[in-house]
Symmetry: C2
Subunit: 416 residues, 2 copies
């Protein structure tokens, strides 16, 4: 089993664990309310049947009919029409964005069949739209953060720059500069919170929801979960209705784009953590097999690095491991990897292990410093391996976009 597969299985296992924990917590939080609601409804039904001497069976039939009518979007308190043009537009918006509130659903067979084909193209186009949006926003953030970084360097003076250049070897301190993923997450997180709070300030008075309910609706809508227990812009009349509908659309669009980007950035960090865990397992596993000097161990390494590794690196790694420094073990592996012509797994592990390790050990380390360290770690190797490393560890979804995009930005600058 290679490391990509190991990471995939580890992630699946962790998600399962996360689901089990979540189920237990939600069950504890919500189960008492469910029982109370059930008792309340039974009492209300009893009251009604006793007072009006209605046959319970007939009432049940009516309630079933009401459920069916609900499915067609009919409520006691009249809602906006479901399938006039503006209602249908809201509906298709929830389809292509995969929000799927379900306040409106096709009831005819023709509508259902059409939905399948319509959704297939629409969802694919919207995924592309979100990805292109992510690309645009990361490019923009990279430019802005780069500008800030340059300005900071200039303010700090030439002396500092030269000492940094010294520490990062022959590389210019701005060459290959990339904004930290933590910074990008912070910015997107703040943007999401700002959008959600602004939207809630709009929804709260317009829909008569509490502020917490509005925030909850914003999260459920923006993350494209879309339960449909709360749906905005459903009543028949609002004050300044057209403006509200437009504002609703814009808020949902902005929110979905922003949260989609945020999810992808968080998923990078999760991936780094996974790579670090897998790397640690591989490291310790290899360390053990190295110390007992089985031939299988070396053979496995041979296959991974594709050329003859330096014969002394295993004991050296072990020796350094005895000193208690995990990074150093991996650095020794990195040296072997740098000599090899194959896939720079060692180097990749090294860079990401240092990053996560540092991040977890001390929160005192500023993000800027961390980014600097990461950047320097990456720059220690030859340029070729650096870009390969990015292409490789950057091979996942938005991560790829970001690494590619950020790198491109630097390359563009160099050529200007």
């Amino acid at each position: 089993m290679n490391e990509d597969n190991a990471r995939f299985c580890l992630l699946a296992g962790l998600i399962l664990l996360y689901l089990l924990c979540g189920a237990a917590i939600f069950s504890a939080l919500e189960h008492p309310f469910e029982l109370r609601a059930r008792r309340l409804w039974k009492q209300q039904l009893d009251n009604f049947t006793q007072r009006y001497r209605v046959n319970l069976g007939a009432l049940h039939t009516l309630l079933r009919q009401y459920e069916e009518a609900n499915g067609a979007g009919i409520r006691v308190d009249v809602l906006r029409p479901r399938w006039d043009f503006s209602g249908a537009f809201y509906f298709v918006g929830t389809v292509v964005s995969t929000i799927g509130f379900g306040m409106t659903t096709p009831a005819t067979i023709a509508g259902k069949i059409f939905l399948i084909f319509y959704g297939l193209i629409g969802c694919a186009a919207t995924i592309l739209f979100f990805n292109l949006f992510l690309e645009r926003i990361i490019t923009m953030l990279a430019y802005i953060m780069r500008w800030c970084h340059e300005r900071r360097l200039r303010c700090a003076g030439v002396g500092v720059v030269s000492s940094r250049e010294e520490s990062s070897g022959e590389e210019d301190s701005l060459e290959g500069w990339k904004p930290s993923v933590y910074y990008v997450m912070l910015i997107l997180g703040v943007a999401s919170v700002v959008i959600a709070c602004s939207a809630s300030t709009l929804y709260s008075p317009m829909e008569n929801w509490s502020y917490v309910d509005s925030l909850y609706f914003c999260f459920v809508a923006f993350s494209t979960i879309g339960f449909g227990d709360l749906v905005s812009s459903q009543r028949q009349q609002y004050e300044s209705q057209e403006a509200y509908r437009l504002g609703n659309c814009i808020f949902i669009l902005m929110g979905v784009c922003c949260i989609y980007s945020l999810f992808n950035v968080i998923s990078i960090i999760i991936k780094q953590t996974l790579t670090w865990i897998v790397g640690k397992l591989v490291c310790s596993g290899r360390h053990q097999s190295c110390s007992c000097c089985r031939p299988g161990c070396r053979q496995k390494r041979l296959k991974r690095n594709t050329v003859q590794p330096i014969s002394s690196h295993c004991p050296a790694g072990r020796h350094r491991y005895m000193d208690g420094s995990v990074e150093t073990v991996c650095d020794s592996e990195t040296d072997a990897g740098a000599v090899a012509d194959g896939v720079y797994v060692g180097r990749r592990l090294s860079g990401e292990m240092i990053s996560v390790n540092e991040f977890m050990v001390s929160n005192k380390v500023s993000l800027a410093l961390l980014q600097k360290q990461l950047s320097e770690t990456a720059h220690q190797g030859p340029r070729q391996s650096y870009s390969h490393q990015n292409g490789f560890s950057g091979g996942v979804g938005a991560l790829a976009i970001m690494n590619n995009r950020l790198q491109e930005t630097s390359v563009d600058r160099l050529h200007k």
Copy 2:
């Protein structure tokens, strides 16, 4: 405005148009049914009030109470408990996958606030899971298709191989071989249909849904739209309940992964089409500005290619354009681009223009042939520009994964 921005705006415009058309069609399909349902419900309500002499206001109050009870998951025909452990597990599954049926929703404030933080991490982890799954499935498909391709070449004999080598220049016909995106789409499409049909065969008798309804449910669930008008495994009792619940989970997991991959592959094709359209617009726009020989035109080109372009390529391109061959114009630009050290936009446009053009002009061209042509077009340039081109045009979401992954597969093979 550069081409990336142009493509983004073009996509946004096309999606808006798609939404407007969809809204019109759905409105036409569903509006009559809505009116009928409204009339039917009014009639049912009238019948009930007349027959049992119930005050309409009191009945409305009861129905409002029923709506509230509905929100807590209570129905006349008793459903499975919402918030026991298995119900809560189903719920968190719909949260992290962003399906969000809404058959179960948190009702307490604590539950709602917890959901926001729980969903934030859970959705990010699941996006990563889907992306890693996509990576795995593409790797697998690439290996299988490569194996088939090699076998086909071997069966066809050495003579054919050598003639193909001749046609693709100095490159080995397997070096840099990548499976066609159309093939991958076809395979994923077939897999999705098979999963949806198998799942429908299970759901249809278990839930008493028609087969079309089951297919519709499968699409809505697998695409993570999740309206919630039809939700599987909601009744209190089923035959062999545990097996059905497990099967339901597995089908939804497989379906979601498969459709997610399919969406991403379709989004690649949409992106290629967009790039082709933008390229065509740029080509014709440039042709016009070249023919009037303004200095601004050349300056713009300078910036894009980053080195002095060949001074004669503009008239040459125009000349070739007069011959009526769009591809040739872009080939002449490609020549300029190949000389330049910058971003190989010309080459990228060329490859994708030919691909989409060929695909649209004739459906008779087999996909294999098309792939061959695409591959050959890409191989005409130097290796370096080829990989850069992939990194660039592959800068979007799953597209990047696929291009990276497929290329890696080839590289791995070469090094073995």
